[in-house]
Amino acid sequence: MRDVLLELNREVGIKGSMVLTRDGIVVASELGPGLDNDTVAAIASSVVQAFNATLGPLKQSPFFKFIFTAAHGRMVFVATGEAYVAVVLNKDIKIDVSMLSIEGAARRIRNMTEIRL
């Protein structure tokens, strides 16, 4: 799983990535310089849990994908079976190209977890 994340991180504009379960437990993490593992894990975990808790009563949980852009960066969450891949990106890149790589990595991680189960 770490190899998949390391390969993903080699894409232009990707600063780090991690895999976490729906209940927010980090399974694997590869973050670049300037990204603190505990901080990113706490943030990613709170997004996944809070969103699914909010969307549950509307019958829209679990969510598949969340892309958000802020003033100085981007974050992407993509569901991969029972888990999510969370990715931190630069803002000044073409998100369409990055999404292909992120979704490819999510598929590979899903295949891994399915084989293990």
Binding site: G32, G34, A50, K59, F68, A70, A71, H72, G73, V88
Partner: protein
Amino acid sequence: MGLFGLFRGKSDIERLEQEAASNPSAATLAALAERYQAEGNVTRALETAKRAVESYPESDRARNAYQTIRRLQMQNRIVELQRRIEHDPVPGDFEVLANLFYHDLGNHDKAMDLIRRGLASFPKSEGLHFLDGQIRFDRFHSEFIARDGAKSIEHLTEAVRLNPQNYRAILLLARMYGEIGLTQQAREQIAALRRLAPNDETVNAFEKALPPEPLFGDLDDALSAAEQGRGVPPGASAVAALFGVRSAVQRPAADPTQIQAILKSLVDPPWSLGAFAFSTEGQNLGFEVRPDLDGPAWQQALIAIHRTAEVASRRMDIGNFHTGTLDCPTRRIHMRERGTLVMALVARSNSRANEVEAALSHALESF
């Protein structure tokens, strides 16, 4: 380029020039700049890209075109600096390259990445601390996020500790304290400026503009107040006026009738199930939904989702939330913030993202 390609290129440029004259949109200007660049007309490429960025400062298309053209022009210098950084770096290499990305290419992310890498290897680099403080200072003035202010002060203080003669760092530090209402700390920096430049008129004017008494007890309170008010506190408005500092956003005129009319128009398209408006503070400003959507429940959920994203964004140190797309089992949510107004659209999951985004973007331009 062959003869045919040359003619085609020229006709493309003429068409784009005509379009840019009659309808100078960000996309047209960016396309024209790129065509000039492809034709080797570097001066006009840069002029046009600059015009695109100045006319449409929020356009990603314009900014990307400008950055690409500038980057192409500076390619050799960038490659050389990157090579040195990879093999045998000195602090100045990080500093020059980060400066180039920040000031010449307007790429804040890349500049900050370089500074982080540089400071990891050279933690006592005055230049890198100064640049970090300066970028945070500029970021603070664009969105007034407390963390940017605190980091700016931290790095500028370190730059001054490493070089007490760094006039620019002391001035920025004095401004930070003065603009957030910490009069005493600002005065200490002003005294340091006076020692370096006793006859500086700006410093005299600055001291006169300071609030006579501190507006807050400590740095945390002062920065929190700036973040909540998204601007310089009213008591420090004379300092803000002296340096031309504006509040982060102009509050949109939240005319309920106008908002309701726009929400209504956003529910018309076949892909749309509901349109919602609320303030960044979570105040409900209205919604329009199709009969099969529970409006109040969705409004409440969307406000909670926005709040979570906003908090995540700030904790990630990437500034305020601007836009988001959330794909759910049978719905897709698009959310966009403009100033203190947030608009969200709940669309069918098979809707075309660019169509929904365009509608949302167009709606927000009305404010």
